[in-house]
């Protein structure tokens, strides 16, 4: 639960501004702490003021070197050794994205596909997947948290793109998602093209939010602190739909029998783990872990555990390196 994440957002905005992160959407002119008043914010225009990031292949990460070190025996001087010494890996994620990282109301634990990604890294470092500390961060803090070192890795349905590559290192891609839109069962819309002038919600600081503004049909983008807040707004008829990655929408539709996901993917959202740019050896290490888990079936098992209801596990995304 991100109680008053808004306040957090405001207070921490200064920190984020300091870091000057291109990847976090620029501070949104919304006040999510006043749920009634924040309603409508036009998404930034495609020709916004942000300078275009250098062209890149966002899927291409740093190539792993050699074989994985034994758990509990990280090479001296590496960032993995620092983590090992600390005794736990700090994972930054959210707690309201069902299936990827959400709080299990029965146990109070945060769990999901993203969390398991983090646990697999922890296992590779310590030999124990439980040596992990979960820190919940706002969507608009995903880049800055990796940059300021408050978390070791961010696995939070985070799209690798060139803009964010400026500030952080991404791992190789661990999941291929794409943006869709969720509407009420009674809606006649077939895709986002039919939703011109309707209020569509997304999390502040997510790429999905920016994408809504880029749509030709001109829906009205509405920002909320987190996707869970979007579903609340949808159920209270404050917005007409929610648009973000198909995976997140699937988790929402699973909670609301009066909602449906429509249309095809209209964007490509390759998910990767974000890390601090100063530790390339850590990115190589993480990629080696992902590489191994693709090969030995761990990835498939994780997919089936969380996303099995949506059908057969596809082949894992192929790693690309620079």
């Amino acid at each position: 639960m991100r109680i008053r994440a808004a306040l957090t957002a405001t207070v921490l905005a200064a920190t984020a501004a300091l870091a000057g992160c291109a990847g976090d959407s620029s501070p949104l002119p919304v006040t999510p702490d006043r749920p009634q008043a924040d309603a409508v914010t036009p998404a930034p225009a495609p020709d916004g003021t942000k300078p275009a990031p250098p062209a890149c292949n966002p899927r291409a990460s740093l190539r792993p070197t050699g074989s994985l070190p034994e758990p509990g025996d990280m090479p001296a001087g590496s960032y993995m050794a620092t983590i090992q010494e600390r005794g736990r890996l700090v994972l930054g994620t959210s707690q309201d994205t069902l299936l990827f990282s959400s709080r299990n109301p029965f146990t109070g634990e945060i769990e999901g596909f993203d969390v398991d990604m983090g646990r697999q890294i922890a296992e590779a470092i310590f030999g124990d997947p439980d040596k992990i500390q979960i820190k919940v961060i706002g969507y608009d803090k995903r880049v800055s948290s990796a940059v300021d070192g408050s978390v070791d890795i961010v696995a939070d349905t985070m799209t690798a793109n060139c803009e964010r590559w400026v500030d952080v290192n991404f791992s190789s891609i661990y999941y291929e998602a794409g943006q869709k839109v969720l509407v009420s069962k009674s809606s006649k819309a077939k895709s986002i093209a039919d939703l011109g002038g309707k209020k569509i919600c997304s999390a502040a600081g997510s790429t999905s939010f920016d994408n809504i503004g880029k749509e030709k049909s001109k829906p009205i983008a509405v920002a909320r602190p987190a996707f869970g807040d979007c579903l609340v707004a949808f159920q209270r008829n404050e917005v007409d739909g929610i648009s973000t990655d198909d995976t997140i929408l699937a988790g929402m539709a699973a909670q609301d029998p009066y909602a449906k996901v429509i249309g095809d993917k209209f964007t490509q959202e390759p998910y990767a783990i974000a890390m601090n740019k100063e530790h390339p050896e850590f990115a190589r290490f993480v990629n080696a872990v992902l590489e191994r888990n693709r090969a030995n079936g761990t990835w498939k098992k994780t997919y089936e555990k969380w996303l099995g209801d949506f059908g057969q596990a596809p082949p894992p995304p192929k790693a690309q390196y620079r």
Partner: protein, 433 residues
């Protein structure tokens, strides 16, 4: 006599002419004494009833409104904290917390209903009451939805809870504070109205004038006639003296009682209420920091600020309460000591969370020991509040004593003075017929 002063032209000249011969002078004196007597009676009635109305308003409306505003505020803050704690506990909400949340809402709505009765229909207080009534309904609906979702294992329940918490903290609590501060101002103004200082001083002046006039009249008569004493006039003087002394003593008692009620009742009530609100705020900050699960954030800063205020010497909690009442001093000492213990438990909670042991931090924060420590603080503060409320009620009732007597007895005695004065001078006047 006095009626003759009214209409026809030349009246002033004729009245002026009266003072040139003895019967005329006597007639003038009758008019003067009876006039002053009637004026004093009138003023006694007005001053008595004004002070009575002011005191009643203070005791029956302004002060209860202050208590109710505090109840609304603290119940809302506590409901927010309780909901967050129930969420932290995971699984099905502990029934003790559910019960407490229900109690909180019941207290808030009950207090809101009576606060609405005590608030004038327009003005900021009324707006606050309206916003609160509508908002509390929305708040409880959001929490109910959160619970229903939680029971089905849907994570969206958590989002409903955070929406509810935003509404509570950002909209409802500020309105409750507004109501609380407005009530504080009303209590302060209420003391002025209860004193009815304007009417009271006019009454004392008029009684003083009557005494002087009676004294001068008797001196004049004893010089002009061979009789040293005029019995009816003596009686009038005695009655006036009784009335004056009675008025002054009622006035003094009332002022003393009001002062005591203000300085030892209302003042401490406001400080203790403030302490309770701040303590609840700190407890809420702790739960919300843990619920946000993002390490020490802005709530933790707020906690530090609040804890500093509560542990500061001369602040709302650590103060010279023992000079008011030794029992109260002991109660407040226990509250302050309990709060220090709670702050140290809170430091342990933060240390655990910051070192990565989230589960341990939650367990310590909502566990029995910390909860008991905090509840202890709350109970001591409740007790202290009751102590001062009782004191206030007692003083305000005592301040009202005698005002009824003044309102009814004052005019009657004044009429008696008029009658005696008239009889006394009338006898002398007859001698000239």
């Amino acid at each position: 006599m006095s009626t003759a002063l009214a209409t026809r032209p030349g009246v002033l000249r004729r009245v002026g002419g009266l003072r040139h011969h003895s019967p005329g002078r006597l007639q003038l004196l009758i008019a003067l004494l009876v006039g002053l007597g009637l004026l004093s009676g009138l003023l006694a009635g007005v001053a008595g009833s004004a002070a009575r109305a002011g005191t009643d308003d203070l005791g029956d409306r302004a002060q209860p409104l202050l208590i109710e505003a505090e109840t609304i505020y603290s119940a809302l803050a506590d409901a927010d904290t309780t909901a967050a704690q129930a969420f932290l506990a995971g699984g099905l909400e502990p029934s003790a917390l559910t019960r407490r949340y229900d109690d909180d809402l019941a207290r808030a709505t009950t207090a809101l209903t009576s606060a609405a009765r005590r608030t004038p229909e327009d003005g900021r207080a009324a707006t606050a009451v309206r916003t609160l009534s509508a908002g509390v309904a929305e708040y409880s609906a959001l929490v109910a939805t959160a619970r229903a979702n939680n029971r089905q294992g849907l994570p969206i329940g958590a989002s409903y809870l955070s929406e509810a918490s935003r509404l509570n903290r950002d909209t409802l609590q500020p309105q409750a504070r507004e109501l609380f501060e407005g009530a504080q101002r009303e209590v302060e103004d209420g003391y002025g109205a209860a004193g009815a200082v304007g009417w009271m001083s006019l009454l004392v002046l008029s009684l003083g004038g009557l005494l002087v006039a009676l004294a001068l009249t008797q001196r004049y008569l004893s010089r002009r006639t061979r009789r040293t004493f005029n019995l009816p006039l003596l009686a009038a003087t005695a009655v006036t003296l009784v009335l004056t002394i009675g008025t002054i003593s009622i006035l003094l008692t009332q002022q003393t009682r009001l002062d005591r009620a203000a300085n030892q009742g209302s003042g401490p009530v406001a400080s203790i209420a403030e302490s309770r609100l701040l303590a609840l705020q700190a407890r809420g900050d702790e739960a919300l920091t843990l619920a946000a699960r993002s390490g020490s954030g802005p709530y933790e800063k707020d906690f530090d600020a609040v804890a500093e205020q509560l542990t500061r010497r001369g602040g709302p909690m650590v103060n010279e309460y023992d000079s008011l009442d030794p029992a109260l001093g002991r109660t407040m000492d226990r509250a302050a000591e309990g709060f220090r213990q709670y702050v140290s438990a809170h430091s342990d909670v933060r240390a655990l969370d910051d070192s990565g042991d989230y589960e341990g931090a939650v367990e310590l924060a909502v566990g029995k020991q910390t909860t008991d420590t905090f509840e202890g603080v709350r109970q001591e503060l409740d007790r202290a509040l009751e102590n001062r409320k009782e004191f206030f009620t007692q003083e305000i009732n005592a301040a009202g004593d005698g005002l009824g007597l003044l309102t009814v007895g004052g005019p009657l005695l004044a009429l008696a003075v008029c009658a005696f004065a008239f009889i006394g001078l009338r006898t002398r006047l007859e001698e000239y017929r």
